[in-house]
Symmetry: C2
Subunit: 266 residues, 2 copies
């Protein structure tokens, strides 16, 4: 059987994979794993290898992106091959590219989905999924100056929509943009643009360790989140648009949000 199966690892440790995903790992001739596109805070490759009784081949960014996953494709041509991916596979463009390459090489592909940061963060916030607009990633301010995230938040707000901001990570260097840094970079752009998109009085929801055993979700004004200690990564921020009264209630009860939110809600 020549086949490449993308299997999602979920969000946290060795136990985020589905039962179906575990079966795919046992049946595979070769198992690759990449751990750089997202952070799995408590994942131990060694522990997972012990549990499944199989060696996992760690794939580097170079092998996957610069060499178009050649080593994985060669393996898949010779027998059933699994690629383990943090979160839900095929959200990162890297894996879509690999899947396209596989199909072009005559390799069948399948996907075993896993929990994704996208739905986890939305669920944890208690905000309604159908009220989210476009998602953005906040870049490291020392590397990229971009007003795009600010503009996306601004556009979404204009339409009453929430914005999910993912925060950039460099897993290889263990560098994770934190919530305070992300907010500060948006406040700096606010000073220039003056659209009242992200001011110290703007409501935001900071989320740390979504999908982990002890996530932290806190709704507060930007000024109160700038120096708040959210603990270990990964982090996300949501900027709420217009709030339904049930969403306001969720932010107050589940995220310790300001009680006056209820008055502003519809």
């Amino acid at each position: 059987m020549t086949e490449l199966v993308f299997v999602g690892l979920g969000l946290h440790d060795e136990k985020g994979i589905s039962v179906c995903g575990m079966e795919e790992v046992s049946k595979a001739q070769t198992v690759f794993i990449e751990l750089y596109t997202s952070l799995l805070p408590d994942f131990s490759k060694e522990h997972f290898e012990e549990t499944v009784g199989k060696k996992l081949h760690l794939v580097t960014r170079r092998e996957l992106e610069d060499e178009n996953g050649r080593v994985i494709l060669e393996s898949a041509k010779n027998g059933r091959t699994v690629l383990l991916v943090p979160g839900d596979p095929l959200i990162a463009t890297t894996h879509i590219t690999l899947r396209i390459e596989a199909v072009k090489h005559g390799v069948k592909t399948r996907i075993v989905h896993g929990a994704s940061i996208l739905s986890a963060v939305i669920g944890l916030s208690g905000l309604h999924n159908y009220k989210f607009g476009k998602t953005v990633t906040l870049p490291f301010p020392e590397e990229t100056y971009s007003q795009t995230p600010y503009e996306v938040i601004s556009q979404n707000k204009k339409h009453g929509l929430h914005t999910l901001c993912l925060l950039d990570i460099k897993t290889e260097q263990k560098r994770y943009l934190d919530i305070g840094e992300g907010l500060a970079s948006l406040l700096a752009i606010e000073k220039e643009r003056k659209l009242k998109t992200v001011t110290p009085e703007t409501l935001a929801v900071g989320i740390a360790r979504a999908g982990n055993l002890k996530p932290l979700v806190r709704a507060a004004y930007v000024k109160d989140l700038l120096d708040y200690d959210f603990g270990r990564p990964p982090y996300s921020i949501i900027f709420p648009g217009d709030l339904h009264f049930m969403e306001a209630e969720a932010l107050i009860v589940l995220a310790n949000g300001p009680r006056e939110l209820k008055k502003a809600a519809k």
Copy 2:
């Protein structure tokens, strides 16, 4: 331990739950399950009960929504209780409401995430996550006439964004809005509004059984999807906005899309 743990079942059968979720089920004093907010096409409650050696209490819509989940909260006050939910828990507002009620009653809550239709459909399409705008649900035309979905698609397109359309379901009656019906209802609104949002020549992606063993993903013009046989539910539709050339490539290679898409891509 008085606690309520929401555990996601993923998208398909008894094996979509995570290893962590299985452990929660084994440790729980009482396990509830609801199967009406989404369709798990091949899930067998009996088979799952055999695997875990525990009885699952099926919760009805009435118990969860009209009675505010009283039976679940009473159980959680008396010992560790799990509620199994299709997909990723806390995406449906019903479960957010239950979580708020639990916290108000002094019951601790935790979440074990599962694969969600939201990220699964995006991953299967090969389209880029950060280019999706607001999500909509298409209602049953015999029940609700609403121009909102049409307007959301139109607005998203204006900004070059993709739109994910979930299709309404009534699991109790085994009635699932299909892709042809959804497209037809949008074409009817097009006749009135004439914004060229959904015409017979519009590109769309029909997706059946996302997260299942044999999903079907097909990119084509609306006229070619109206009568296309997608097989068993559940279904979704994506209306692409502007296409990056890698997205066009993905639709052609992974979803059998028209080859001329490449010319229109950027």
